[in-house]
């Protein structure tokens, strides 16, 4: 629906289509498109992807779920992670609790033009962090022309003609909070699902950064040797010598914290093990005949790296990358917990735990659910890496 409308709009009026396109809308559009095309592509190319026939175990399932949540977050939950309304009723709700919702009549608008129609549809689909048309209530009472509602000792009243009615009765629905709510009445489940994005974004981003650094430097040190090798090895030792979290905190304190800084800093401080692996592997295959012949044939250095050396060291590299990923996820959540996190684009698990800490006597679920998800993620990543290592050892 939304996609179709947007497509129509963009063919008619490109200017307003671009103007309406913000991050959230783009997110929803992308998820819906992927939701349709991903299964189709996977089905069509199922013979090419041999990892599809991998045996499934607990860890790979968890990682799969995380990836799905990463891509399809707007489809999995129908709320904005920052959504909050009627704090007095919704704050610190226990898990599995539900709240009655009173629906108000929205302002009637004449939806004639295409862009107005689209805007209405967008407001319906893309969830905003505020919705003025619903009220969370504890209890309601009907009088002849008024409705009286109770909100945690606060009493309010509304005219009946402001409320959506059905057969003379107000429309009441229930909103269900499976993991409870936090101190601002925000749904913890939604925040957890969106929090996957931060973790995976930071994880993948900084692993790519450290992979680039580790690969280049390791290759350089292995092929050239000599003074470059000595300097790079000292540098590695220096980075290994530093208690990494102090270094990360120092850099973030100096340069300010944002998503990008966190990704870059975690990437810059995690390349040492990759460097060591690449260097030792390069040294061990350097004098093999096929490398010598490749050099003799006059292949450029870059080609030798990608065509001759990378395939050989692929497996230890992947194992290391997975471990590095779990390290980075842990470091990111620790940083968010310490208040040096990734900004407020999406909620982060570490920051959720930090805010739960202040309500530890009242609301254990604010720490429990993010904590469990975090532990599961780290455990699965560790396990996946270990299994891969074992398989290759065999």
């Amino acid at each position: 629906m939304l996609c179709e409308q947007y497509f129509l709009l963009s063919t008619n009026d490109v200017g307003s289509a671009i103007q309406l396109l913000d991050l959230n809308l783009f997110d929803v559009l992308l998820s819906i498109t992927l939701f349709i095309f991903l299964p189709v592509t996977l089905f069509l190319f199922r013979k090419k992807f041999n990892w599809l026939s991998m045996t499934i175990n607990f860890s790979s399932m968890t990682i799969l779920f995380l990836l799905l949540a990463f891509i399809f977050a707007p489809i999995i939950t129908d709320e904005n992670p920052e959504f909050q309304k009627d704090l007095s009723v919704t704050k610190l709700l226990a898990p599995f609790s539900s709240i009655t919702v009173l629906h108000l009549k929205g302002k009637e608008k004449s939806n004639t033009s295409l862009s107005d129609k689209f805007l209405a549809l967008k407001n319906e689909t893309v969830k905003q962090s505020y919705n003025e048309n619903i009220i969370f209530v504890d209890n309601i009472k009907l009088t002849s022309d008024k409705i009286i509602f109770l909100q945690n000792e606060k009493v309010g009243e509304l005219d009946l003609d402001l409320i959506q009615l059905k057969d003379g009765e107000p429309v009441l629905t229930k909103r269900f909070f499976i993991f409870g709510t936090d101190e601002f009445g925000r749904n913890i489940f939604t925040r957890l699902v969106y929090g996957v994005r931060i973790s995976i974004l930071v994880g993948i981003g900084s692993v790519v950064v450290s992979l680039l650094i580790g690969l280049t430097l390791g290759f350089l040190a292995g092929i050239r040797g000599g003074i470059i090798d000595i300097i790079l090895s000292r540098l590695t030792e220096l980075f290994l010598a530093f208690p990494i979290i102090y270094l990360i905190i120092l850099i973030i304190a100096m340069f300010g914290n944002s998503l990008l800084t966190v990704i870059i800093v975690l990437g810059l401080t995690g390349w040492m093990s990759l460097f060591k692996i690449v260097k030792s592997e390069v040294l061990s295959v350097k004098n093999k005949d096929y490398i010598t012949s490749a050099v003799m044939l006059g292949l450029p250095k870059r080609k030798i790296l990608t065509k001759e050396i990378l395939p050989v060291i692929m497996v230890p590299l992947i194992v290391n990358i997975i471990f590095q990923f779990s390290n980075v996820v842990l470091a990111e959540s620790a940083l968010s917990y310490l208040g040096l996190g990734t900004g407020d684009l999406y909620p982060s698990w570490g920051a959720m735990i930090e805010s739960g800490q202040h309500y530890i006597t009242k609301a254990w679920w604010m720490i429990f659910f993010p904590g469990v998800v975090l532990i599961l993620t780290l455990f699965s990543a560790n396990n996946l890496g270990k299994n891969l290592k074992f398989q290759t050892l065999k």
Partner: protein, 328 residues
């Protein structure tokens, strides 16, 4: 032989010194690269321009960058890390007050880790394949994946909020001064119990894994079979032949372990609000006390370099073959 050891030691010392100089230079470039002039960063923003001018000349910021660098290195080696403007004291003395707690805390945790890991490994290897063994194995996998702050908060929830057995924060009670000596020690123990578990559990899992693997390896070897066949009792075999061989891989991670401990101590100190260096660093970040932040990071790096050096010396003492390895 003695000459070899001396030579190896000297070489190791020189590389440590090199790493130290690299560390100091790295910090210098970090400070200079970060946005803002050092005179803004090291002094409150409410200074008038004239005062800033004076500060700039006093800090020698008007000189070429290379001379600034030399000055920086010389000052660090003299022990002059600047003055913390939160505490209005030299950085070194402030860090010193907080460092002692972190060191004692880390040492206690290290002891706990080693002792429990040894105990568990020996217990499980004796009853190999039994239910206790499998339980500990899986538990160690899970425990290793628990982040320190989740663990610490769970412990606080269980033991402080629900059961009210242990206090949730601080180092000693309010009526601490009036207590007798033994009561004081008991009080410290009471307050440090939860933090110690928080800091040690992941390390126990790690050490256990390594110990268990190396013990198993050693027990598989032929000379153990020979000893058993010769009629030595299990205790002698364990003490004289298995443990010295199994301990080596542990030593190689013990040097790195201090870094892990310092990092873990930082988070543990924040959770339980203990007066250590990690919490000092976090507090000084939020107070924008940059000299103190840099000082803390530098001291942490210094400690790591020193502990790696020490671990290598101990390794050399235990295993003479390593001298050659370290020389190359």
């Amino acid at each position: 032989m003695n000459k070899d050891i001396l030579k190896a030691l000297l070489k190791r010392f020189v590389t440590s010194l090199l790493t130290l100089i690299l560390l100091v230079s790295f910090l210098f470039f970090l400070i200079r690269l970060s946005p803002g002039n050092p005179s803004q960063k090291y002094l409150s923003a409410e200074f008038s321009p004239e005062l800033k001018e004076i500060v700039t000349t006093n800090f020698k910021l008007d000189q070429p960058i290379f001379e600034q660098y030399i000055n920086f290195v010389i000052n660090i080696f003299k022990g002059d890390f600047g003055i913390s403007y939160g505490y209005r004291q030299p950085v070194l003395s402030v860090v010193w007050q907080f460092l002692s707690f972190t060191l004692v805390f880390a040492a206690l945790s290290f002891l706990t880790q080693i002792i429990s890991a040894f105990y568990l490994a020996l217990r499980t290897i004796r009853g190999k394949g039994k239910s206790f063994d499998t339980v500990v194995l899986y538990l160690s996998l899970i425990v290793y994946a628990i982040p320190a702050f989740v663990l610490g908060l769970s412990l606080i929830y269980i033991f402080s909020v629900q059961l009210k057995v242990f206090p949730s924060s601080g180092l000693h009670s309010l009526d601490f001064e009036s207590n007798l000596f033994f009561e004081k020690i008991a009080d410290y123990f009471f307050h440090l119990f939860l933090p110690l578990i928080t800091l040690s559990l992941a390390g126990i899992a790690l050490f256990y894994k390594y110990l268990r693997e190396s013990l198993e390896d050693v027990y598989k070897q032929n000379f153990i079979l020979n000893l058993r066949a010769s009629g030595y009792d299990e205790k002698t075999i364990l003490k004289k032949h298995v443990l010295p061989n199994a301990i080596r891989p542990l030593l190689s991670i013990a040097g790195v372990e201090l870094g892990v401990l310092l990092g873990g101590a930082l988070i543990t100190e924040v959770i339980f609000s203990l007066p250590g260096m990690g919490r000092l660093m976090m507090d000084s970040i939020f107070a924008r006390d940059y000299p103190l932040v840099v000082g803390c990071a530098l001291i942490a790096g210094l400690l790591m370099i020193a502990s790696n050096f020490l671990a290598d010396i101990i390794k050399m003492k235990i295993d003479k073959r390593l001298i050659k390895g370290l020389m190359s």
